[in-house]
Symmetry: C2
Subunit: 288 residues, 2 copies
């Protein structure tokens, strides 16, 4: 049996009881380590489970699936994923390989940012399409996420922005030279994401385009959701640029039309300036 | 401390280790029993936790919040919610009351249908706004969910449809007579939801309107997600009407443009007829 086990968000104790039982029953357990991270590392999990974990980087999951699935028809193999196992496309591929090899699989679900984001006080059924914000490079500055956010807002829907994670990436130079030297991991902060959004806004304003999101749009910065030191801070987009929410992972929510109850909930974690702004919001007319 | 603890989906062992520890530390534990249910009842949870639970119906949560929050500043009170604590609006209200009363609160997240739906093979970031499908009555037959599904589809986004739950509801007659007699609980099935959708489609076709969803649209029926006897079945909407997916809870997904990997995943649980239909799908041209 292949067990795909969600670890939830936070620390080692955020695994479900069912998930922990499955981990203990497995003869081999992989820890997926490139689409998300917990606030605790592999060692803390190993100590908590009383079990060695095998780190599974993108290369192993995408190229070495046979290795992961080896003997899973006769023994139990665990595949641990931070959040819920189906947050990342690449795990559908692993499941399909198992199915095609006649290996039964079982999913043990857990919280992920996709549903836990509700704790900021915005209603989950008021969210539109989720977007990913990627690190810009000098030559690659995609803006499609901005258009999706604007589309959601025009429909009165909030947008959850998943922020880029770069783990075990090679520089172009090292890749071309075939050197297996990896860059240090990078996790986009709320501040960086807000900064990229503002650059898009400024560029489009210069072009005279319509702006579906501005520097004054109310946004929510989230850091380490589910951990003891989680941070939720509500402010206007331009305020978020100067926020330091601490270590990874961060996520950003761009709000749209707000229900009065949502406004009340946002106020719980709002900065003084944003608080004043939220006080002025008449949910029926709120557009900026 | 007020602990809002998600129970996840499935059975008693789907609680997180952190959640279970919190339950055990609480002097009073409520079980929210009207926005969702597990496949096991209150007694099974009580036996598993070694703790009495107080059933919290809508009336208690919305009118008796003071009772729930009593002494929560000096003792630990638990509030258990199937899925994640922030799936239902009404729990924001409880949190706000705690905040206003100076009572600290902590959320212990878990899986909910909002993220666990990913296990059917559709990518979570390809979902649009979530909709609720309510039981029609003779005089009240809202169709707004159909329009939202069509809007999502037009944008290439799948729609998760949450199906109606009626727990501890009074008939209009009993309500008017002030009799506290409650109707038996009702949970909308995938078959019932598909039937209501098809009635809307037929009515609109007669009116000559454009149809964003038809009887041949590929849909996914989900039942008891996360439980050992969970069922996932993919078929065309008209096929789902005759599917019996067993006991509650059910959910329905209306698909939109499909990625080839999503098609492959859907095939794993597809009916023969639907399978043939899925084989014909060219994801780039798929519209029905």
């Amino acid at each position: 049996m292949l067990y795909l086990i969600g670890l939830g968000l936070g620390d080692a104790t955020d695994i479900t009881v069912k998930g922990l039982q499955a981990v203990k029953s497995c003869s081999r357990v992989y820890l997926e380590a490139y689409t998300s991270i917990l606030t605790v590392g592999k060692e803390a999990l190993e100590e908590y489970y009383g079990k060695q974990l095998i780190l599974a980087d993108r290369n192993l999951v995408e190229q070495g699936a046979d290795e992961i699935l080896k003997d899973a028809d006769v023994t139990d193999v665990g595949f641990l994923v931070v959040g819920d196992p189906f947050g990342a496309t690449t795990h559908s591929d692993l499941v399909l390989r198992a199915v095609n090899a006649g290996i039964p699989y079982k999913v043990i679900h857990n919280a992920s940012i996709m549903n836990a984001v509700g704790c900021c006080g915005l209603q989950l059924y008021n969210f539109g399409e989720t977007v990913s914000v990627v690190f810009w490079t000098e030559t690659w500055r995609p803006e499609s996420f901005y258009d999706k956010i604007c589309k959601n807002r025009a429909a009165g829907l909030h947008t959850l922005c998943l922020l880029d994670i770069k783990v075990k990436e090679q520089s172009i130079e090292n890749m071309m030279r075939g050197k297996k030297i990896y860059e240090p991991p990078r996790f986009m902060t709320v501040s960086q994401a807000a900064d990229q959004l503002i650059q898009i806004i400024q560029r489009r304003r210069e072009e005279g385009g319509e702006l579906g999101v501005t520097e004054d749009t109310v946004c929510v910065g989230l850091a380490r959701l589910g951990a003891d030191d989680q941070v939720i801070r509500t402010g206007m987009l331009h305020q978020l640029v100067s926020y330091d929410l601490g270590g990874p992972l961060h996520s950003l929510v761009v709000t749209a039309r707000l229900h009065p109850l949502e406004v009340d909930m946002l106020r719980v974690n709002a900065e003084p300036d944003a608080l004043q702004h939220l006080r002025m919001i008449d949910s029926s007319t709120y557009t900026s």
